[in-house]
Symmetry: C2
Subunit: 447 residues, 2 copies
């Protein structure tokens, strides 16, 4: 890892050259580098925590002056219980995942002695722009090395001291490995993002991890493909046939287990025939957790009838509430006639992230999952399952609402592309065709 | 299919709505629509060829005035031997391919009663901007319907009459099918491309099929992902260990079988130790086919020595020749010391399309294929095999040099993305974790 004060263009060009070496290294060389990084970080714990303490001091001052939120200060703290150990364990977890490089996903015999193979290979150079949490740098460096991709990292300025300390260790570890040092680069100079976003000649993919505004800014200012999501407006549709307990459990978890997450619930769609039966139970449970309900007229009326005591605290929904990612203990509620209206609402107002249906009707559940145009479509499960760790991917670089390449939680597999190999014996194309005396392709699928 | 004079935004919004219906249709409904399109076109042959004749008349006038190239006129002609039949057969070929929608590519048991599934699904709305060849409209409409994607088609103006006649038939066919009419739309109004490229809200992917300049213009002027390639600068590296016959056959085919194709050979890299042995044979064969060789000093000297009669007609290469896609009977020649220099040259000067090595050394061939960062990397085979039909994909929408999503010839599979489905029984996330009394995920891979 280079701690670069080089120009963004020089850094990106060096990363590209390094990527050409990195992508030919065997799994053992990439895994060994991860072991060295892990051991180096473990040995440098005191130095890194001291650097982190300096970041924290500055951040606490900024928070005291009102220039920084308390929650950001909390996320900076590498000394928090379990965080350091989780960071180190994460590196070994990634190391021990199956090698994603060189997997053969298609093999076709084109003709005698002429084989076509599609194999997975690294994408090339990733630009990862992330927020302040200092442990992310180790996580992302691990994913990059394991997947054979070079990476340029640009972290939030509040963690600069921690990043520099960690990247110095990673750099020393890579020096003793076969992975080129320039394969992982930390850019610490400020205001370089516009320059980096113009380097489509060297950078193959941008992965922003940060606020919706950051992601939108990046998507609007680069020709490089961007992997990620701006909004996470997740909905749950509750049918009249739903099991009440499942509806309550799923909705309470989706709304309250971590309201600031992108996979948290923001809109409840309730079938009109469930208004007097299931909805009051759901609403009561949400009230019990301190959730504010923003209801349309019919759902509000239903609550006033079923729960006269608390109906009055319901807020009238505005149209904009159905397009809002609250990221707080607030949820919008809307009555729909049935499945089709629910699907239409979600496809129109949702963010194509993760949406769920609660129903005991299998056929309707399958129709919902087929028709809702989102990266995750769930039946009787909380939207908060949208997460690389929960999916069993080990870890993730983020969650994508893209319609091409990778969608949903993106782990190692989402950092790969493929190439086609052909092995022949001097084969030429001109002899194949439909006419007399022309050869025909065999196109025998071998894998 | 709508023959739309609607605004681009209205057309795109209608396509998006149609895509939500199209993507839930079973394979039988999509296949039936293709049969209806095929039968409709077969029945309307006379009308369509008459419309095509009107396009041809205008084009011939334009060619006579020097406003249009003769080769473009030739490509317009639907009446050319076999073209009409090929177009009709192509529709049935696509229909009979395996259904790409709903294939389960991952299935994991997350916990008892909680299953994660990754299934293929259509991308949504494609914008396909293509050149004048009128048969392309039927080919692309077939691929879109089969893959469950809505498509907005913008064809070259020289084929307008043919396009209108064909799209009228397709529209009538879709009326009698379950595929919504707005799923395939032909935009005939002029100068709408900038407006279409701004509709990232509705359009998920742009596929340009046309000149390098068109592709570059589109890539620079849209936030929508673009699938395709601008350049096709393919190289072949010949090692001293190469079999002479294979080298000659492969290079002659790659350069001369269709020089205007993107997969044609543009640069020969010759190992210095092969200069006196293999290279004169290769050069002689190319001269025999009328190919102009643009040689560096050492390869020129070698030719002057080996073939004194024709060494004098060799052209001196300029630096720019190694970055030029000639698309003509011209090839650049450069001497390299060996494999590493060849790989470096190709990764630096190539277009990441398709590159080949000719060698009898298996280890070097594998190293070449691992290290060259191109969509196609071949050993002892012509670069012109880079083609969807030759790969056994039935047909292609184009060839992609992208590093994400789809690379190389793009068939039905390249027009798909996936979604994750979870089927649970009221499962919530908050109960899982590392602490005491928390549940653990099973993460049992079922597929």
């Amino acid at each position: 890892m280079s701690l670069t004060n080089a120009s963004p263009a020089d850094a990106a060009q060096a990363a590209k050259s390094a990527s050409h070496i990195l992508q030919t290294l065997p799994a053992s060389a990439r895994n060994d580098a991860l072991t060295l990084i892990h051991d180096g970080l473990a040995a440098a714990k005191d130095d890194i925590l001291a650097a982190n303490a300096r970041d924290l001091d500055l951040a606490r001052q900024a928070a005291a002056d009102g220039r920084l939120s308390q929650s950001l200060v909390s996320r900076l703290d590498l000394g928090k219980k379990g965080k350091w150990e989780d960071m180190l364990k994460g590196i070994l977890d990634v190391r021990d995942l199956e090698d994603p490089v060189g997997r053969v996903t298609l093999r076709t015999l084109l003709d005698d002695g002429l084989e076509l193979e599609r194999v997975t290979c690294p994408i090339g150079v990733l630009l990862i722009i992330f927020e302040a949490r200092p442990e992310v740098i180790a996580n992302i460096a691990s994913l990059a090395v394991k997947s054979g991709n070079a990476a340029i990292l640009k972290g939030g300025k509040e963690s600069t001291e921690s990043f520099v300390a960690i990247s110095r260790v990673i750099s020393q570890a890579l020096e003793r490995s076969q992975v080129p040092n320039a394969a992982i680069q930390l850019v610490t100079t400020r205001d370089v993002i516009p320059e980096l976003l113009a380097l489509d000649r060297y950078i193959d993919l941008v992965i922003p991890r940060g606020s919706n505004d950051l992601v939108r800014y990046i998507k609007s200012n680069t020709k490089i493909p961007v992997l990620g999501h701006a909004d996470g407006l997740c909905s749950i549709y509750v049918e009249a046939s739903a099991d009440v307990t499942k509806a309550v459990d799923v909705i309470v978890d989706a709304k309250t287990s971590y309201p600031a997450a992108c996979n948290a619930l923001e809109t409840i769609l309730i079938q009109e025939s469930a208004l007097g039966t299931i909805f009051p139970k759901v609403a009561g449970a949400l009230f019990g957790k301190g959730v504010e309900l923003r209801c349309d007229a019919r759902s509000k009326a239903a609550l006033e009838q079923a729960l006269p005591d608390i109906g009055a605290i319901v807020v009238d929904a505005q149209d904009s509430d159905y397009d809002t990612e609250f990221l707080a203990l607030i949820v919008a509620v809307k009555v729909v006639s049935g499945l089709d209206e629910a699907i239409l609402h979600i496809n129109t107002h949702g963010s194509h992230h993760t949406d769920a249906v609660v129903t005991e009707d299998k056929e309707n559940a399958e129709r919902f999952m087929a028709a809702v145009d989102s990266a995750g479509v769930y039946w009787n499960a909380s939207t908060r399952f949208a997460d690389g760790m929960r999916y069993g991917f080990g870890t993730e670089v983020g969650i994508s609402t893209n319609k091409i390449h990778s969608r949903g939680p993106v782990g190692l597999e989402g950092l790969m592309i493929y190439k086609y190999k052909i092995r022949g014996g001097g084969h030429v194309t001109a002899v194949y065709g439909e006419g007399e005396g022309r050869k025909r392709f065999k196109h025998e699928r071998l894998l």
